[in-house]
Structures are given as C-alpha cells and as structure tokens.
Symmetry: C2
Subunit: 294 residues, 2 copies
C-alpha cells in the first residue's frame, strides 16, 4: 500500500497558488511522474525528510518541517510553503489508512534546469515490520566521513548538516558495513569525533545521562532524538550534547541509533566488540515513539 501527492510548485514569476491551483494532487504512485532532466536526479540537487505516522497522525511534523526549511535554505532553494506541504503530508497519510505504523517521504528538488520551478512530492507507504530490529538491535562499524568536525563552519558549501538527495555515500557505507559483517554505521570525523549514522542519530547513555554528539558538528539536527530527549527529561534523565570519540562509545552504558521509521535500534556490537543492551530503556523509548502524537 502506498500513495503519492505531487506538489504544484509556483513558477518563478507567479505568486504561490496563482489562479486558485490546489497545492497538490494525489496521483497513481506506480506511475511515471518525473522528467529525466530534473536536477533532483541529474545532480542530486534537492532535499528530503522522512516522517513517521502512527494511526494516521504524523509524528514530530513541526520538527521535520523546520529541518526541511533549513535544508532548503542551505541549498538556496525557494522556501517551501509549509502549509502546502503539511496538507499534502496529511492527505497522503490519510490515503494510507489507520495503520499502526506508516511513513512519508517529502522530496523537494531544484526542478528542471532553466525552468526556475522546483519539483516536490510526498510519497507514503506502510512501514515494514521493524519489531525485531528494535529488540535485537544492530551491529555497527565506525567509518571515516572524511570531513573535519568543524567543516560546517569552515566550508558551508559542503552542505554538511543539510538533508540532501546526494546520499550515494550514505548508501555506500552500508555496503561497506555489510562487508564487515555489520548492519549499520557511525560516521567519524577526520579528526576523531563521532558524528551520526547515515540515516540516524547516535544516542548514548552514561548512568542517568542521555547524550548525543554535540552541535556544531556538521550533522543533522535529530528530530527523533529531540522527541526522545523530551521523554527522557520527563522521566528523570539528564540530557546533553557533547563531543565524543569512539573510545567514549566503548565506555558508554548503552548506545542507540535513532531515526524516524526504525525508531530506537540498540547497538549490539561496535567494530566487532559486543556492546551491552539496555533492554528496559529500549522498550520504553520505542513505546513512547510509537505512541506519541505531536
């Protein structure tokens, strides 16, 4: 089961939704709706978000739309019309019906070169069964991302911290992980700091404190991590951002990779070394993520 909405993007010279055009239209998700000339595919020149939905309600939608706008700004794309995107997201989720877990992906590209009009769509589908990975966890390897930790400040044109369509490396590292008998990856900066997963945020627990790699690290602001921090603080944990190394990971009490669709996957091994799982907290976090309505 899947569904697709195409956003009607205003042309360069027209006001938004001129002539009363609706902000989006639902179309056959199995159809062909994209030109091979779209810069989204010829140059990976665009942005995306992946947003989970529980029983027909999007989760952390405001945080995702904020990050979507921040990515657009980093790529100097026209500011996305958040009301139009919100409406399209809700319409696609509605098409998917009242299921426990679904997700939508919003994609916004620079459109066809010279056309001056971006391309946008929302694609949604039911989530696969992720029950096992949330319990059994993932084996992780650390891999060099090649960039220093401060590259967002020194070299903003590298777009570190924007969620772009140029994710070939994020896919290649998963193949490298498989070669190393692992499932997922934690990126490490060229100067030795842990960053994020290719599609997730790293969380670590040290006693009563839940931490994630610090701000200013040229990584994505974690929408799921943001939700979890709110939940943890309401349940007596301290939370914080800090510069951490691979050595800090090895001495943590527990590690998770958290993301919108998979939620919290406990890390069971790091570069081949077993990592203890905090089963109780893993269950509590995943129950909270699945049930939240915001």
């Amino acid at each position: 089961m899947h569904a697709l909405a195409l956003l009607n993007q205003p042309s360069r010279d027209a006001p938004p939704h001129a002539a009363g055009a609706p902000p989006f239209r639902l179309v056959d998700p199995d159809g062909l709706h994209l030109s091979v000339l779209d810069l989204g595919v010829t140059r990976g020149d665009g942005i995306f978000e992946t947003i989970s939905a529980g029983h027909g309600r999007p989760q952390a939608l405001d945080a995702h739309l904020r990050r979507f706008a921040a990515s657009a700004s980093a790529l100097e794309l026209p500011i996305p019309d958040s009301q139009a995107w919100r409406d399209a997201i809700l319409a696609v989720i509605s098409e998917l019906g009242d299921v426990p877990e679904a997700f939508v992906k919003t994609v916004y590209t620079r459109g066809i070169e010279g056309d001056g009009r971006p391309t946008g769509w929302v694609h949604g589908s039911h989530s696969p069964d992720l029950g096992r990975v949330r319990v059994d966890g993932v084996r992780v390897v650390t891999l060099d991302r090649g960039y220093r930790h401060d590259v967002a400040t020194t070299s903003p044109w590298l777009l570190a911290g924007a969620k772009t369509l140029s994710y070939a490396v994020n896919r290649a590292v998963i193949r490298e992980a498989r070669r190393r008998d692992a499932d997922d990856v934690i990126f490490v900066s060229s100067d030795g700091y842990i960053l994020e997963g290719p599609t997730s945020t790293v969380l670590l627990r040290r006693g009563n404190v839940l931490m994630t790699p610090g701000t200013g690290l040229a990584i994505l602001e974690g929408t799921t991590q943001g939700s979890i921090f709110g939940f943890a603080e309401a349940n007596g944990y301290e939370t914080g951002f800090e510069l951490s190394t691979v050595e800090d990971l090895h001495t943590a009490d527990a590690i998770w990779l958290v993301s919108s669709v998979r939620h919290a996957a406990p890390v069971t091994a790091l570069d081949g070394v077993p990592v203890a799982i905090d089963r109780v907290m893993t269950v509590r976090i995943n129950e909270f993520l699945q049930q939240r309505q915001e």
Copy 2:
C-alpha cells in the same frame, strides 16, 4: 532540439536482452519517464557521463565508457552493457542531426528499491554557444573540498573519483563562486593540494610542460585532459601528473579548466588575482577538441 533514449535494463534474474528485447528505445524527451521512487533521485544513487559530439560523431567515447564502467564498479552497480550504451548514444546523436556541437548525458541509477533492476537513459541536446567562454575564460576561486588528498585510498566508501549523481556540493560551490564574483571553482584538499573543478579537470602549463593534478588524488580521470595530452605530446610538449598547491597555480604560465562540452576555458583570475591567458595555445587546443574524431 533534444532527444532521449531509455535503456532496457535486464531484470535481476534474466540474461541481458532476453526475449530479443531491443537494448533501448527512443522516446519523447519532454515526457515523464521516471518514477519518484527511483534511487537515482531519492538517494543520488547512480552515475553519469557527459560526452560531446561533433558533426554527429561522439568524442572520446571509449574513454567515457571506460570511466562509466569504473564509476559503476565503485558504486557496485551491475556492469553497464557497453554495446547497448554505445548504440543508444549513437542513436541519440543521430537524432540531433549534423550540427557542429552537441552532447549527450548517460545516466545509470540503481533503479527502484527492491526491484533489482537499474535504470538507464541517454539524453542529448545541441550545445549552447560556448565561443565566448573559450576566448574570454573564467574567473576561478579555490574552495576546500573537505577531504584529504589520499581519501580514495584510506576511505573508498566516500566514492571520491566516481562520477556519481550526488552532485549537490558540485552545484553549491558554483553558487559560492558567484558570491565571490567568480564563475568557477578549483577544489583544494584539506591538506592543501589542488584537485579538480566541480565539472572539469585542471591543466597548467609551465614552459614546455603541460601538467594536471596527480593520480591517486581521489579525482576523476579526465577524458578531455587525456585527449589534450595526446595532442600536446604530438606537438612537442611534455606532459605529466603532479601534486600541486594553490601557490603552484599562481606561478604557472597558464591555467585551463577542461571538460567535454565547454572544452578548454582559460582561467583569467584565481582568487581575485589576474592570471595570464595563453591565447594561442587556447585556440589550438579548442580547435583540436572540436575537430577530433575518435
């Protein structure tokens, strides 16, 4: 005037061109031929080449097809069927007619997730008028690429040296160049070596020697640079590959950015400092590139 051929990709389990399917079909280039679920657009997960054609003949086609296959290998895509691609390229160029300058772009993606079948197409069009830029040249700024020069050896999963669809950074640096009152960019490694342009190879002349940044630098093998080296050697120049710094650029006798469609654009300024143009050699290189038939 433009034209488009869609490659018929074999499914995972079928032999190539099973059941006598033709290797490609010409379709309306203004049509919509791509799914929004194609990993080429959702993840920039694919590769491309841009190949020039003069009077209906592709230029440096073998070198481009070799590099295309090398990029596919780096991304662990199925090996492209070079005969099918060659046929499709020639058919598209033929559609464009006998014009002095045209170009085609070959794109090869991982296809729709789970489908196991890559997506491929060849799009061609007449070249814009590039006469001025080949004479008047380009103002260039140097920008940090963030990676060390040896990253292809230390961290092959970063795909440096593969021509992928994940080119959002290559587009962002052109916007940064514009902000700095320049037209184009030469990337510099985080440890200070000049690399390549976002869509070109750097050439520099020092007396009777024509040089390009060395091998092992995590940069693309230059197809146009390869043609020019052959021409230069036949005309009494020495050629070579070497590790060079921005300081080496400033003391060169002339600098060019060379690429398939624009050919050789002389660099007229580097980070705001005027650079001498070698007008005679620029004309000779561009005449050679335009007239070559190989």
